[in-house]
């Protein structure tokens, strides 16, 4: 029988030390909605589980100089209840809220979603479009990395031995900004994204897009930052020609597999459609926020 231990350290440094001492067989536990499934299916046979939830700050959302800081183990339900966060980052919040059922929302976290490194993780495109920064704690101290640097392939991350994501920071951005996330699934609830699209926009005073970021999920081994798609939005007001360029650039960025959830051609086509629709939603939200601030 494989030996398994459980510890629940009360500081981030202790957690990093425990993870490092546990070596490759140690796993960090946040909400556990992926880890426990892997444990049960015996896909994973860890020797040590390091529960992060007793570390102060691991659960909760706080504001720091205009940044929002989301603790690694903050469940979707808590994220959804934070009104200021939902107002500032509606796309990130709607992405986090799409993950699983009510029960899963009671536990599942965005940091766990990122570190599970599924190409179809719903919160990943939204966080990457938002230019979220992960604060990573490890035996050598703290470092910061952009959200897109976490996953390196399906189920694989760039985290070194003993490292874990402790916080996700959503950076302050100008007024007249907003984001949106859309995913396609063949039913209305409880499914895995066939394609996901996150769009984050900032407008100038006249309603022209001055900054844009487009991130596409489930159309490659990791989330794709579609730079040409974002560039297509700059300077425009999302007229039909602009949206057509966005659609084309988003499709051009895709390199999906085909599987039972969708063929590669279908995913590529849907990526363009979702990028368009998410851009339209983000644009309307940014305009509405500009109206409120004026």
């Amino acid at each position: 029988m494989t030996q398994l231990d459980y510890v629940a350290p009360t500081s981030a440094d202790e957690a990093a030390a425990a993870l490092a001492a546990g070596g490759g067989a140690a796993r960090a536990l946040a909400g556990g909605t992926d880890l426990l499934v892997q444990l049960r299916s015996r896909r994973l046979k860890p020797g040590l589980i390091v529960d992060l939830k007793r570390i102060p700050g691991a659960i909760g959302v706080r504001e720091e100089n205009g940044d929002f800081v989301v603790g690694a183990a903050t469940p979707g339900a808590v994220i959804g209840e934070h009104e200021a966060l939902a107002k500032a980052w509606p796309g990130v919040v709607e992405a986090a809220r799409l993950i699983g059922s009510t029960q899963i929302q009671g536990r599942a976290s965005m940091a766990g979603n990122l570190c599970n490194a599924s190409p179809a993780a719903d919160s990943a495109p939204a966080l990457i479009a938002a230019r979220a920064i992960c604060v990573i704690v490890g035996p050598a101290g703290r470092r910061a990395a952009p959200a897109e640097a976490i996953a390196t392939g399906p189920g694989r991350t760039s985290l070194a031995l003993g490292e874990f994501v402790f916080e996700i920071r959503l950076p302050a951005r100008p007024a007249r900004s907003a984001d949106a996330y859309l995913r396609f699934i063949p039913r209305t609830e409880m499914d895995i994204a066939v394609v996901g699209a996150g769009v984050n926009l900032t407008l100038d005073g006249d309603g022209a897009v001055v900054d844009a970021r487009v991130a596409l999920g489930a159309v490659g081994p990791t989330v794709i930052v579609a730079e040409a798609a974002a560039a297509a939005l700059i300077g425009g007001r999302l007229d039909e020609a602009t949206l057509a360029r966005l659609d084309e650039a988003a499709r051009a960025a895709c390199r999906p597999i085909g599987d039972k959830r969708g063929t590669a051609e279908y995913r590529t086509k849907i990526a363009g459609v979702l990028a368009r629709r998410a851009a339209v939603i983000a644009y309307a939200r940014a305009k509405a926020r500009a109206g409120e601030d004026a």
Binding site: M1, Q3, L4, D5, Y6, A8, L29, G31, G32, T33, L36, V37, L39, R40, S41, I49, D51, K53, P75, A77, G100, S101, T102, Q103, I104, G106, R107, E189, M190
Partner: protein
Amino acid sequence: MTRTHVSATVNGDPAEFLSDPGTTLLDALRDELGLTGAKEGCGSGDCGACSVIVDGRLVCACLMLAAEAEGRRIETIEGMADGSTLHPLQRQFLEHAALQCGFCTPGMLVATKALLDANPDPTESETRYWLAGNLCRCTGYDKVIRAVMDAAAELRQVRV
């Protein structure tokens, strides 16, 4: 392997048990505490038959380690009735015949209690979305939804 000693509050009463590090809360509730109302349907968080409320949040007991329950407040189906007086949700489930085999029913009841605790006046659509993670292979859900809507109305009357 060291067994962990866990102290928690279960249905308002202090509870203590020993758990192996890989034991789920569901297994601890069923095997250590004898609370067999929460069921294991899938063991992977898809079916909701093991729904319990932990510190006010609805969760799947199969996706939580028993060791994580230390100091937590846990509510299970066994705490729902007040002695021999059924909770309005339980009574409405019976009146609407909102169950056949009954395997999903404890999870349905705990999940809908969590809904009505948070939102006393949910729409039918909100109720259906809330219960998306509670699978029932017998009823087709309609009677469940009707039972929940009637129980919600009844509870609102009581509150007034």
